[in-house]
């Protein structure tokens, strides 16, 4: 093992939603350049950040992510011309919503990483991982996952009654 690799008490789970053309390629470049970054990130590839539905982010948090990264092409560089602009607008609204429900926005990062920016990918991932590491695990949404009404089951008495009344 490399001497620099430290053992930590908490290894956060970081999920990255990235576009194929810029950030995925930037992460590939980090690889071909043999740069090093924490292995906590799991990458999900999309054609474009425009494809990323905020629901995916919620679900990722629920499924155990402690931090989420959304990254695509720089404004103006979208392979699909404007997908990242739509994404930017969508996520601006979504961030405000998350803030409102009390999610610490430090857990959710948006960035632009181009296909040429292997180094930036490393920086963004490293920064987010270390930041989330100091914040500790994110319990809120995971607890919801365990509450049954969230997963769609309807056997709490109140809900049952409500559903029956619609019946």
């Amino acid at each position: 093992m490399h001497a620099a690799t430290k053992q930590h008490d908490f290894e956060p789970k970081i999920v990255a939603f990235v576009c194929t053309w810029c950030t995925y390629a930037g992460a590939d470049l980090a690889g071909t350049s043999r740069m090093q970054y924490p292995p906590n990130v799991r990458v999900l590839k999309f054609p474009c950040t425009g494809r990323i539905d905020p629901v995916f982010i919620l679900r990722a948090f629920q499924k155990g992510a402690d931090g989420v990264l959304v990254s695509g092409c720089h404004p103006g560089d979208c392979h699909y011309m404007a997908g990242n602009f739509h994404a930017r607008r969508r996520f601006a609204a979504f961030r405000a919503l998350l803030d409102f429900v009390g999610v610490d926005l430090n857990r959710l990062q948006f960035s632009w990483v181009s296909a040429a920016e292997g180094g930036k990918w490393v920086d963004v991932v490293t920064e987010l991982t270390e930041r989330v590491r100091t914040m500790g695990p994110m319990p809120e949404f995971k607890e919801l996952e365990h509450e049954e009404q969230w997963s769609g089951a309807i056997n709490t008495p109140e809900l049952k009654e409500a559903y029956d009344s619609i019946g």
Binding site: R34, R42, C48, K63
Partner: protein
């Protein structure tokens, strides 16, 4: 999908060095629905692919996952193999455990755990994958070339000679670019005009080439094989169809003292002008900013003297839409100006060199014009300030280039060679003159290049001083050049009559804006990016768009011409087919659920979404729904994330697939 095969690659040792591939294969085998898993040294090799094909047959696999390098590297390879084994190619996916895992992590346990996770996610993607049928689209066998320098000219001629129609768009009034400005060219010292102008004439006369000069790209729609490009034809104020090119207007125009851009501002031209005598086309254009008629409504001399009545002060910009199947971008370069720090630019400028304030400090291109027989001095080397012949000339290399602190870290590639050329041209013209060159390194890779450079030093007596210049200032009619000779370890001071700066080669102004219209990528300097630095040096990542010449990076003429011919060959390869297969990653509408809100239509940058009417048997309108034209859809999926009723879905990235992957996190 319930019979998935997982193949884990060692990539020699590239993956297995940090990832325990056996464990990854074993863990994959335990995922429900995975019917087969194994690891192998080189999956992309012939035996590796055979292994995959055999496994598909033997284990009746209905989906495969290859955990190896980036899909950007080998997705095509494995999809082809899967197809050969009878699977739909889109049921084959790759898990990137090399670029995204083994190469970027050192801790073996953590890297192995990550690789397992990546495989787990991707297995879900395969499980929820669908067979997709390729989409075929017709190819318009007509090419657009943007930029009429040597790169664009070469590409246009090659494509046209192959029998295809070409539209060449040049933003200046004439084609020719920088090469037309050069005096003589390294490494053979042949006259640039003599080898360039015949090619320019060939372009003008070629039956397959439509030439639009003084024109720019306004808008680009469509995709490979089917681009629609809107070209803006700037008002020339001269009707090209009437003008005979007699030039009488230019001789009669009373405004004669406008610095000529072609001569780097050192010669003069009238307000109605062609940039240089051999211009193609030789139809003049009126420079409206400097024309008295346009500025004050008085004059009109050129219209009066023009026999065929070609001068038209009322002419407006016009637009045409050109259908083309492929685009070659050849917009070339510009030279770094060092006097001013461009606004908002990270580039620093060289205030300490006095360029722009001391008239006898010029750049390399100006020297080319002074040395050119057709230039403002008729080929005599005379300095701008007083027209005297300079007896001591200092050349400074790497001005702007390779200077990270000044904002540019790359090497401009041509300056070492053209500076050597300049010292020779100078020595040939001023026999009792002395040339000094300040240089960091002499970079002369190229056929006959080092020999050429040695000739400058050994036979033509240029004094090469290894070191940089720190300051220059005017003293009397001399320029004092203060620098260091790091080989000898002393400070040097030279009293020069003329200083020539080899300034950095930079992308054209507006290169980024053009890239945005084309949807191609560019690096931090605005040079256009090729799809692969080694194996796809002329293709853009955007299909159907190719690069030629200095717009992709600094280049000399031989390299520019080679790349231009390569780009032309790529266009011809594309045009060899009548129909193209394209990735079937396109959106589809579920008409049952679509409520016809057309939120999708608003966000689709491709204009792929149309309104479709659903009628009953009597022909009564039931509702309007969205319809995606699969030929036009770019496959970004923005519509899907936008649709409030979730009734539009992007093949290959369905909600079901993505959710399944997230569930597996």
């Amino acid at each position: 999908m319930s019979r998935i095969g997982v193949f884990v690659c060692h990539c020699g040792e590239n993956i297995s060095r940090t990832v325990d591939v056996e464990q990854v294969a074993k863990a994959a085998g335990e995922i429900p629905g995975v019917a087969f898993s194994c690891d192998y040294k080189y999956m992309c090799s012939d035996p590796g692919q055979t292994l995959l094909k055999k496994a598909v047959a033997e284990h009746k696999l209905d989906g495969v996952l290859v955990a190896a390098c980036s899909p950007r590297m080998h997705e095509k390879t494995f999809r082809k193999a899967a197809e050969a084994a009878g699977l739909n190619p889109y049921l084959c996916e790759m898990a990137n455990i090399r670029e995204h895992c083994s190469w970027v992590h050192e801790d073996r346990d953590m890297a192995t755990a990550k690789a397992k996770d990546i495989v787990k996610l991707m297995v879900e993607r395969v499980r929820k994958g669908k067979s997709l049928a390729p989409i075929t689209v017709p190819v318009t066998k007509r090419a657009l070339v943007i930029g009429g320098g040597i790169a664009g000219i070469q590409a246009a001629l090659d494509i046209a000679d192959a029998g295809h129609r070409v539209v060449l768009v040049e933003r200046e009034p004439s084609i020719g670019g920088h090469m037309a400005q050069l005096s003589e060219t390294f490494p053979t010292l042949d006259c640039s005009q003599c080898i360039m102008t015949p090619k320019m004439v060939d372009v003008a006369n070629h039956p397959n080439i439509t030439l639009f000069t003084y024109s720019e790209i306004e808008k680009v729609d469509g995709y490979i094989g089917n681009f629609q490009v809107t070209v803006k034809h700037k008002a020339r104020s001269v009707d090209e169809s009437k003008c005979t090119g007699c030039g009488i207007c230019m001789t009669k125009c009373p405004k004669k003292k406008i610095p000529n851009e072609f001569d780097q501002g050192h010669g003069m031209r009238p307000a109605i002008y062609v940039p240089f005598p051999q211009a193609v086309p030789n139809t003049p254009v009126i420079d409206r900013e400097n024309c008295t008629m346009f500025q004050s409504g008085k004059c009109g001399v050129c219209a009066k003297v023009c026999g065929p009545g070609a001068v038209d002060y009322e002419q407006k910009d016009t637009f045409t839409v050109e259908d083309v199947g492929a685009i070659v971008v050849a917009t070339g370069f510009k030279l770094y100006t060092i006097d001013r720090k461009p606004e908002g630019s990270p580039i620093q400028g060289y205030g300490e060199f006095g360029y722009g304030t001391i008239p006898d400090i010029i750049d390399g291109m100006t020297f080319e014009r002074l040395a050119s027989a057709s230039g403002p001095t008729g080929g005599k080397i005379l300095r701008p300030s007083d027209g005297k012949e300079p007896k001591q000339v200092v050349f400074i290399q790497c001005v702007g280039s390779r200077a990270r602190e000044k904002g540019i870290s790359y090497c401009s590639k041509v300056c070492c060679m053209y500076t050597a050329k300049h010292t020779m041209l100078y020595h040939h013209k001023v026999h009792d003159g002395q040339a000094y060159v300040f240089f960091m390194d002499a970079r002369t890779p190229g056929k006959g290049y080092d020999e050429f450079w040695r000739r400058a030093v050994e036979e033509e007596e240029a004094v090469y001083i290894r070191g940089m210049v720190s300051r220059m200032y005017q003293r009397g009619d001399k320029i004092v050049v203060m620098g260091s000779d790091i080989q000898v370890g002393v400070q040097v001071e030279i009293e020069a009559d003329l200083v020539v700066l080899a300034t950095a080669v930079q992308p054209q102004d507006g290169a980024d804006l053009l890239a945005q219209k084309l949807g191609i990528s560019y690096d931090k300097y605005n040079f256009y990016s090729e799809a692969h630095a080694k194996l796809k040096p002329v293709e853009c990542a955007t299909a159907g768009i190719y690069l030629a010449g200095a717009c992709q990076g600094p280049k000399d003429i031989p390299d520019t011409v080679s790349q231009a011919s390569a780009a032309a060959a790529k266009v011809m390869t594309l045009f060899a087919k009548d129909k193209l297969e394209r990735d079937p990653v396109v959106a589809k509408v579920n008409e049952k659920y679509c409520v016809g809100c057309f939120a999708c239509k608003k966000v689709c940058a491709y204009g792929a979404i149309e309104e479709k009417e659903i009628r009953d048997r009597q022909g009564n309108l039931i509702k309007k729904v969205a319809y995606v034209n699969p030929g036009v859809c770019g496959g970004c999926g923005t519509c899907q994330a936008t649709c409030p009723s979730k009734s539009i879905e992007l093949d290959g990235y369905t909600d079901e697939q993505i959710m399944a992957m997230i569930e597996a996190l």
